[in-house]
Amino acid sequence: MVDTISRIVVGCTAFNDKKLPILKKPESLKAPLIELSEIKHLGKLNVRCGKKNRDALGKLIHCNLPIQINQINSKAGRFAISLGPDEYLILAEPGSENQLEKTLNSSDISKYISVVNVSDALCAIQISGPKVRDVLSKGCAIDFHPDSFYKNKAVQCDLALANIVLVCLEENEFIFICRTSFAEYILDWFIDASYEYGIFVSDGI
C-alpha cells in the first residue's frame, strides 16, 4: 500500500498539473536565455531559535546557522538561510527532513527552539541564464547589481505579487523559495516576463 501511494506521489509537483516542459521563445532567438525548473521534494525546515542555542543547533544540523541576516551557509548538501533575527530556513536533501526534524525535536535544546517541517508548504525553484537578473528586476525591487547581490546572499522579498526567499548560488543562478500555492502564478509570471529573452521550463530534478 505504502508503495502504491509513494509511486503516485512522485509525479506531484508544485506546478500542479501544468504540462511541462515548456519552451517559449520568439523565432528570432536561437536558444532561450532563461531556464527554470523545480527542485522537487527538497527537505525544508523552519527553525526558530535564539542566539543562545544557535551554535548547538548548527552542530545538530551539521551546518552552522548564519550569524548575519540575508546570509546563507552550506555544508554537506545542507543549506541554512537566515530569515530573521531568530528564524532560519534549513534546506536538506529530499527524504532527510523527517529524521532531521526528529533529531532536533528530541535534542535537549528542543524546549527553547521550534522546528517545523515545511517541506510541502514551500517549494524551491531554480532559475538561471545570462538574463536572470534582468528578469528578476522586472518584478523585484531588490538591487540585483552583482556588487550588492552576490553569491551566497539570500533575501526575503516580493517578486511581483508573491513573497519569496531568493538565494544567489552563482552570478547567473538563483534558487527561490515560495509558498507552493504561488508556484503556478510565479511560473506564469516568469513565462510572460521572460518573453523578450525566451524561457525553458523543465520538469526539474
Binding site: G50, N70, G84, P85, A141, I142, Q156, D158, N163
Partner: protein, 119 residues
C-alpha cells in the same frame, strides 16, 4: 515611496512593509476597571501630529519583524528606527514621545507601554 532601513534586512522599499500606526500605546488590562470613556481613549482615540510621529512598522515581505520608527508626517523624513519595547533616543524622538497626549491620559497612569524584558 519611502526607503526604510529594516533593522534586520537593511534598506528596502516601502512596499515591503506594513504600518501598524502609533507606537507606545499602553494596553490597559480589564482588571484595571477603567470607565468606558477612559477606555475609549485607548480603544479609538488617536494621536495624529503634524510633525514627528512615533509609529510601528513590520517588514511584512521580509523578516516579518516589528520595529519602531520616528517619522515626520510632513516631510516623510525618517528620523530614527529603534527596536520594539524600547524608547526613542534622538532629541526629536524623545520630544515626540512626550508631546503625545497619552502621556497625560488617565489610563496610561495605571498601565505603561510595553517594554522589552528578558525572555
Amino acid at each position: 515611496m519611502l526607503k526604510i532601513k529594516c533593522p534586520f534586512c537593511g534598506v528596502r522599499d516601502e512596499s515591503e512593509f506594513s504600518c501598524g500606526g502609533e507606537a507606545h500605546i499602553a494596553r490597559p488590562t480589564t482588571d484595571l476597571k477603567l470607565t468606558d470613556k477612559i477606555f475609549s481613549e485607548y480603544l479609538f482615540m488617536k494621536y495624529n501630529p503634524k510633525g514627528v510621529f512615533l509609529e510601528r512598522w513590520c517588514h511584512t515581505s521580509g523578516c516579518r519583524r516589528w520595529f519602531n520608527l520616528a517619522r515626520d508626517t510632513v516631510s516623510h523624513e525618517i528620523i530614527e528606527i529603534y527596536p520594539m519595547g524600547v524608547f526613542p533616543k534622538t532629541v526629536k524622538g524623545k520630544k515626540a514621545y512626550q508631546a503625545n497626549w497619552r502621556r497625560k491620559s488617565k489610563y496610561e497612569a495605571v498601565s505603561k507601554p510595553a517594554k522589552r524584558t528578558k525572555k
